[in-house]
Amino acid sequence: MEQIVLETKNLGITFGGLKAVQDVNISIKKNQIYGLVGPNGAGKTTIFNLLTGVYQPTTGSFFLCGSELKGKSQETINHSGIARTFQNIRLFNNMSVIRNVMVGLSNQPEYKCGFFTSVLRLPKHFKVENAMRNKAKELLKIFDLYEERNNLSCNLPYGKQRKLEIARALATNPTVLLLDEPAAGMNPNETADLMDTIRFIRDKFDVTVLLIEHDMKFVSGLCDEVTVLNFGTVLAQGTTKDALNDPEVIKAYIGG
């Protein structure tokens, strides 16, 4: 039996009187690539925000590998193993590429180093710094960002900024990686590239991927399972092919 990594139970949130998300039940198995699709305003990003602790759910809860994460702070959730990227890229713009990744690394137990150790420049500080730098370089090589490692991240071209955001998320050593519209603004070639990259990430970093995407070709080519949302509720769920061919889904997308 396959292990369930991320599970939501009756997850919901209301803003004022608006039920932005309600009764969402998703269970994602280990090393799956899982898609979250739906029209604009269906509540996809809100679910991401719930799963990362930006918003607190008003109903239901969610679990990572069986442990409940509801009510935890954003950083605790990240430490527990959920990392994300953003729909509108959020990099540390005035920091170099490598420092962006090193910020992601800094909470790993093996890079622990106290304030006074750093300020007094004890030997451990140098050891940790070097280890972090090497690890960051390794990650940057994978994402083809090594050459640009000392540039400011705001000077990177768009596609590379997306990659850097993924690299930074992976640096936090997640169990589940949440990607918010990773293919937005990419041309078909880049999209195809990205599909390979995501599969590669899953295998190389042993992560489970949950992604939001509008491009149906991308979703059907990449995702094992999907959940289709409409007006904050689940419209269809299951293997990609079944869910996307569901009459309800087609109706929601095409209208009438």
């Binding site: 990003t45 925000n49 930006v54 953003f86």
Partner: protein, 290 residues
């Protein structure tokens, strides 16, 4: 009886603060900047009144000239110092505003010297109702500030320019797309703010007739505090914050044990209110979209 005097005093100080706070809050709402030099416009107004009181001896003429002059100065500052920075980091704008504040203060010192100047207003006997004694100027301040606030509220609600101002403070780029000239809206905002500052200068002089180049600093800071307490960007908030702060000040001055700490108490109230309501009493909270 003393309580009533204190309350009336508080309301009139509050009215002055509210008038200044309105300038801060409108500029903040519309240009999204802290006009740190706003307090010094009060000083400019005060000196103009001083000069024209000496020339004409007539307060109304002096005030009219001061209003016009402050509007000109305010609009010029906006065009020269703030407009080039539109779209730049708000911190940069804030620091430029600090620079403008220094500039006005040192110019005033060059022109008028550092010794305080005394403005002579006509002497009017206080009104006596039973044992209650009220200064006429306090009453004038109170009435005038109420009129100003009412007029401003009506202006914002019912005129095209006022609605354009509200729209700009909600969403500048959308307003621009609607065909409204945001630049002129900002200019008008600065003009109104400066006119209010000139009036506040008059009322502050009626209360304390000595003027020096730092005349506007403390009322400026207090009014800014009032604007933040009320919720910066909100016009009713500025009025509420101003009156609240004025009352606190008047009451605190009347209790000998805490009178020396009046300033500290006012700032403490600010900190406490912001801790409870981080956007001020009537401030709108906006969530950042993730």
């Amino acid at each position: 009886m003393e309580i009533i005097t204190t309350l009336i005093n508080g309301l009139s100080i509050g009215g002055i603060y509210a008038m200044i706070a309105l300038g801060y809050t409108m500029v903040y709402g519309i240009a999204k900047m802290l006009n740190f030099a706003h307090g010094d416009i009060i000083m400019v107004g005060g000196y103009t009144i001083y000069v024209f009181m000496n020339i004409t001896g007539h307060p109304l003429i002096a005030v009219a000239v001061a209003v016009v002059f402050c509007v000109l100065i305010g609009v010029t500052i906006e065009k020269v110092a703030y407009k080039p920075l539109r779209g730049a980091s708000p911190l940069a704008v804030l620091i430029t505003a600090i620079g403008v504040s220094y500039l006005l203060q040192s110019l005033a010192q060059i022109i008028f010297g550092s010794a305080p100047k005394m403005v002579q207003f006509p002497d009017i006997k206080p009104i006596q109702i039973g044992s209650l004694k009220i200064q006429v100027y306090t009453l004038i301040t109170l009435v005038a500030s109420i009129i100003v606030m009412v007029l401003l509220t009506l202006f914002v609600k019912y005129t095209n320019i006022g609605r354009a101002m509200l729209a700009t403070s909600e969403d500048r780029s959308a307003t621009e797309l609607m065909g409204i000239n945001v630049n002129s809206v900002i200019t008008i905002t600065f003009a109104i703010g400066s006119a209010l500052a000139a009036l506040a200068g008059l009322f502050y002089l009626l209360k304390a007739p000595n003027i020096s180049n730092t005349f506007g600093s403390m009322p400026g800071i207090k009014a800014f505090t009032a604007a933040v307490i009320g919720g910066i960007g909100s016009i009713p908030g500025a009025m509420l914050g101003g009156i609240l702060l004025g009352m606190v000040e008047a009451i605190s001055y009347n209790i000998p044990a805490i009178a020396p700490y009046t300033d500290a108490i006012e700032f403490l109230i600010l900190i406490v209110i912001l801790l409870v309501k981080p956007a001020g009493i009537l401030g709108k909270r906006r969530r950042e979209k993730v």
